[in-house]
């Protein structure tokens, strides 16, 4: 379980997260949406300790992210993260990308890491691209490898930061299919995305953020059919164009 407790973060004078509260229960999929600059990426980076925050508390399985005694490296092992621009290691093959962390962090043998990687490549439908370099893969393929790379650490949580917004329309589905499969298999997920079809299919809750605050939250039906704030109405009308 991830508990986010009234966190506040400033970049200098700029109040980027304001009293953000949220609980993500085991097995849930939570979708975060909101306009550009509303603090969605920053929130994700606070959860796995890539960015510090000044006030409030985040607990991951009861472990405080803020506590200086917390081993953040250990904590990050159980929170996978997927990025908008994939961020594969360009000098490594797909296989090497996936096996690097299990081998160096978990100290798995090469064989064990590769077995795990093959299993994941199968899961994301990329077995035939094990030896390809990122530059020779399409965006959708790169993103599926990136998902496999995160899953290789056998995380309890997965965070996605706009995983399909850099993709051509015809590739979006292949990535969403993998994410839907993961959600249905019981992964606990936190997804920043504007793909409302995905939200409809798997989201247990949708959070709408604006200017560093959560201004609306609810189920897909609540949010989509009955938005409460003008900001959310405007946002929905924009993304549904």
């Amino acid at each position: 379980m991830i508990e986010i407790n009234k966190i506040n973060k400033w970049y200098g004078d700029f109040h980027v997260l304001q009293d953000v509260d949220e609980v993500i229960e085991h097995g849930q999929t939570v979708v975060i949406c909101g306009p550009s600059g509303s603090g969605k990426s920053t929130l994700l980076r606070c959860i796995n300790g890539l960015e510090p925050f000044q006030k409030g508390e985040i607990l991951v399985d009861k472990t405080s992210v803020k506590d200086p005694k917390t081993d953040l490296y250990k904590l990050r092992e159980k929170i996978g993260m997927v990025f908008q621009r994939f961020e594969l290691y360009p000098h490594m093959t797909a296989m090497e990308n996936i096996t690097l962390a299990p081998r160096k962090v978990r100290k798995w043998s090469k064989e064990r890491a590769q077995d795990k990687a093959m299993e994941l490549l199968k899961r994301v439908g990329m077995v035939d691209k094990a030896d390809a370099y990122p530059a020779n893969l399409s965006g959708g393929q790169q993103q599926r490898i990136a998902i496999a790379r995160s899953l290789a650490m056998e995380p309890a949580y997965m965070m996605f930061d706009e995983p399909t917004s850099a993709l051509d329309p015809e590739m979006i589905k292949e990535v969403l299919d993998v994410m839907v499969e993961l959600a249905k298999a019981g992964m606990t997920m936190l997804c920043v995305t504007h793909e409302m079809g995905f939200a409809k299919e798997v989201a247990d809750e949708i959070i709408f953020m604006d200017k560093g605050k959560i201004v609306e939250r609810g189920t897909y039906d609540d949010f989509f059919n009955n938005p409460q704030t003008d900001r959310a109405k405007l946002f929905l009308s924009q993304i549904l164009d």
Binding site: R45, N48, L50, Y73, K74, R76, E77, I79, G80, M81, F83, Q84, R85, E87, L88, Y89, P90, H91, L100, A101, K104, V105, Y133, A135, N136, A146, R149, S150, A152, M153
Partner: protein
């Protein structure tokens, strides 16, 4: 045309001068490669210090680069040669001064440390061109800072930096000519030596020039091969 000068190109191969030039070339190559090894090791370390999240380490890295980059190499070389041994205290410095080939060690270290400051700068530019999310992607898998630099960021940045590193590698060989001033018998030194003994410095220097030219072209060819092997496919347009 009359130059009032009797050319004698045989100083380029005549005994003992031909052998002197070849020995000079050997020394130049030895100095260049040895200095390059030091430069890469120190340059990577200093370049990485400059972007770590620890302020003190960043300041050390910056100070290093500023000092070595801004003082003329010739002055640095004299400094290491005359003052360097004294940095080790009185008794040790006396022993160091008696070392055989001290000037050669000083040359390698001086040239290596100077070139390291330049490599560090190129590498820093390489690090800066890697997106913040790329760093985050590595850390998000549970890797430590050290693992992140070692397995992903440094190998990636080095590949991005191959073109300027080619120039630096070439420059190391050219800069070796400076160490004749502290008496190391590299190629330029030997051509001067031939002049001193035969008064045919013009031929000797011309010969040395062509040897440097061939050496430089070989280095560039070699770096082309390195680039072809390590270039990240399709990345350059990113």
């Amino acid at each position: 045309m009359n130059f009032a000068y009797d050319f004698d190109w045989s100083v380029l191969w005549r005994d003992p001068y031909g052998v002197m030039l070849i020995k000079g070339l050997g020394m130049t190559i030895f100095l260049g490669i040895s200095a390059w090894i030091i430069a890469m090791a120190v340059g990577i370390a200093v370049g990485t210090l400059r972007i770590t999240k620890y302020r003190l380490l960043r300041m050390i890295g910056t100070a290093y680069v500023e000092v070595f980059r801004n003082i003329p190499l010739l002055v640095q070389m004299f400094f290491w040669f005359y003052a360097g041994p004294m940095l080790f205290g009185e008794t040790l410095s006396r022993q160091i001064n008696r070392l055989d080939g001290l000037a050669i060690y000083v040359s390698i270290i001086g040239l290596g440390l100077y070139t390291a400051s330049r490599i560090a700068e190129h590498l820093r530019a390489g690090f800066a061109s890697i997106s913040k999310d790329q760093y985050h992607a590595v850390l998000s898998t549970g890797m430590t800072q050290v693992q992140m630099y070692r397995y992903v960021i440094i190998p990636y940045a080095l590949r991005l930096t191959i073109p300027p590193l080619t120039t630096e590698f070439l420059t190391v060989f050219k800069n070796t000519s400076i160490v004749m001033t502290i008496g190391v018998a590299e190629l330029t030194f030997q051509s001067y030596q031939i002049d001193a003994e035969t008064f045919h410095g013009l031929e000797a220097t011309t010969g040395a020039m062509f040897i440097y030219l061939l050496l430089g072209m070989t280095v560039v060819k070699f770096m082309d091969l390195v680039e072809r092997k390590y270039k990240i496919q399709g990345l350059m347009g990113r």
